[in-house]
């Protein structure tokens, strides 16, 4: 009975795609911790009243939200390649700078930074003014106001949208190996599913199980994010 289940095509497929799924997980896990603070800085930059800070942040966010990630990957890989002779080679870091495991997260960070920054910027604009004024009236310094009012409110207001962004980011990781070279057996879910499809033309099995992995990953992100949301809103309960 257990053998029959273990030998079934679906279970075999799930085992086969487990390692490729780790590559998607790596791209997401490498991008989120750096993309998050980057997005916060961008959002604060866009919110700034100083136009020399606000304008570049606005332009960056607009450019990266207005163009396809697919093109951004191609563009940055080409840029890295063209800088190889003058920069990376002489510095001796060409091996890892040109590696998909580096460029992948690099471009994803720029992209998710722009999208998340727009979300955080939207939250910054809707922070209750009364709370900020009350904090100032209490005699708090600028950094104290930020720490006790702006920051927790921004996080709380933007969290549902940021959750969606994290799910989209995980989905975007499937684009890395469509645009960057595949090195040896380093393949992600879509790549491996495509390779298996070319062997036996069973599109429902391979793409179905790959989709299942994405679905489960999305559910995990939604679940963890819900725990965080409850924590952020615990004072409202």
């Amino acid at each position: 009975m257990i053998d029959a289940i273990m030998n079934s095509a679906i279970i075999q497929e799930i085992i086969l795609l487990a390692k490729p799924a780790l590559f998607n997980a790596y791209f997401a896990l490498a991008s989120i911790p750096i993309g998050f603070p980057f997005a916060i800085f961008l959002a604060l930059g866009k919110f700034s009243t100083n136009k020399w800070i606000s304008l570049p942040a606005r332009a960056f966010i607009y450019a990266f939200r207005g163009s396809p990630l697919f093109i951004q990957f191609f563009m940055f890989y080409a840029l890295m390649l063209s800088l190889n002779k003058v920069l990376w080679k002489p510095w001796g870091i060409d091996e890892w700078v040109l590696h998909p495991l580096f460029i992948g997260p690099f471009v994803l960070i720029l992209n998710t930074g722009a999208y998340a920054a727009e979300i955080f910027y939207g939250a910054l604009r809707t922070i209750p003014k009364g709370e900020v004024e009350a904090a100032k009236a209490m005699g708090m310094s600028k950094s104290q106001v930020f720490k006790t009012v702006t920051w927790p409110n921004m996080l709380r207001l933007s969290w549902p949208a940021y959750t969606n962004e994290m799910v989209f980011l995980f989905h975007s990781t499937s684009l890395v190996y469509f645009t960057l070279p595949v090195i040896n057996e380093q393949k992600d879910l879509m790549n491996k599913a495509g390779e298996l499809f070319e062997k036996d033309y069973n599109i429902y099995l391979h793409f179905g199980v790959a989709g299942l992995y994405f679905l489960i990953a999305s559910l995990i992100i939604f679940y963890l994010s819900e725990l965080m949301r409850r924590r952020l809103n615990r004072h409202l309960a």
Binding site: S67, P68, L69, F74, H171, S174, F197, F207
Partner: protein
């Protein structure tokens, strides 16, 4: 290009820039510029498909019958949990295989179908797709994916129409049909437009995937033209210019987004005229 330029214009440019103009207007480049039509056509057609699927999805989601509601919710949920690229590759392949399956049943022998390890089981069942077929299937799959997003937006917008408006219409003696079309649907657009605008932005960015479906679109040509050329017989000799070409695409998509934004702002002003409830 240089042949049709008058002499006085030619004398304006240096030799280097003349060479550049000649390079940028050669046959391959003109084909590249012309391939924008695939991108724009795909964006518009997919948007129409998406609206169609979205309206069906929204109707299913608010249906009174539990099975329809369940199907509508399943449709919108599954597309949110799975990357669009998977669907965009999946639907055309699945449709192709489905058609080939039926051709195979009539054209191939039973023995071939049972024993063949390749797909399709025999040569006769191979369905050769032209660029236009692939384009159409790409639009269909983009429409299916973004239709789920549209369904969510329209469903939400229908709920957002104030109940009092409909009751007032009823009190004035409008019949059910008039209330639905002239009040609910008419006002729904004003609430749906910001969401639809976002989906359109996603959709134009997704048209970059066309090159993955064998469509010779702008991305495909940019990749081809950017590769280094060392043979003077094949035109201008240049190193790898991939970055420059992709940068042009990068800017092109940003401009497309800008134009769309302007257009949607105009549309929003039109759809919400006379309404004080919609905040801009």
């Amino acid at each position: 290009m240089l042949e049709i330029m008058p002499d006085w214009l030619l004398s304006w440019f240096s030799d280097d820039s003349l060479e550049m103009i000649d390079y940028l207007t050669n046959g391959k480049h003109l084909t590249w510029y012309a391939s924008v039509r695939y991108t724009l056509f795909a964006a518009v057609l997919s948007a129409l498909f998406a609206i169609g699927f979205g309206l069906i999805g929204a109707a299913l989601k608010q249906s009174g019958f539990f099975l329809f509601r369940w199907i509508g919710n399943f449709y919108t949920a599954i597309v949110r949990g799975i990357p669009d690229i998977l669907f965009i590759l999946f639907f055309p392949l699945a449709i192709e295989q489905g058609v080939e399956y039926f051709i195979a049943r009539s054209k191939c022998t039973a023995e071939q179908i049972a024993t063949s390890v390749n797909w399709p089981p025999c040569e006769a069942a191979q369905w050769f797709l032209t660029t236009n077929d692939y384009l159409l299937m790409a639009c269909l799959s983009l429409g299916l994916v973004y239709g789920a997003f549209v369904a969510n937006v329209i469903y939400g917008a229908l709920q957002a129409v104030p109940k009092g408006q409909l009751e007032a219409a009823s009190a004035y003696g409008f019949n059910q049909k008039q209330i639905f079309w002239k009040f609910k649907i008419r006002q729904m657009w004003a609430y749906a437009l910001p969401g639809l605008s976002n989906i359109w932005m996603l959709l134009i960015k997704a048209t970059a995937f066309l090159s993955l479906l064998q469509v010779t679109d702008i991305v495909y040509w940019a990749g081809l033209l950017g590769t280094a050329n060392y043979f003077p017989s094949a035109g201008m000799v240049h190193p790898n210019w991939n970055f420059q070409y992709y940068f042009v695409l990068f800017v092109f998509y940003i401009l497309l987004t800008m134009v769309s934004e302007k257009f949607f702002n105009m549309l929003q002003a039109k759809a919400s005229r006379g309404m004080s409830v919609v905040e801009r």
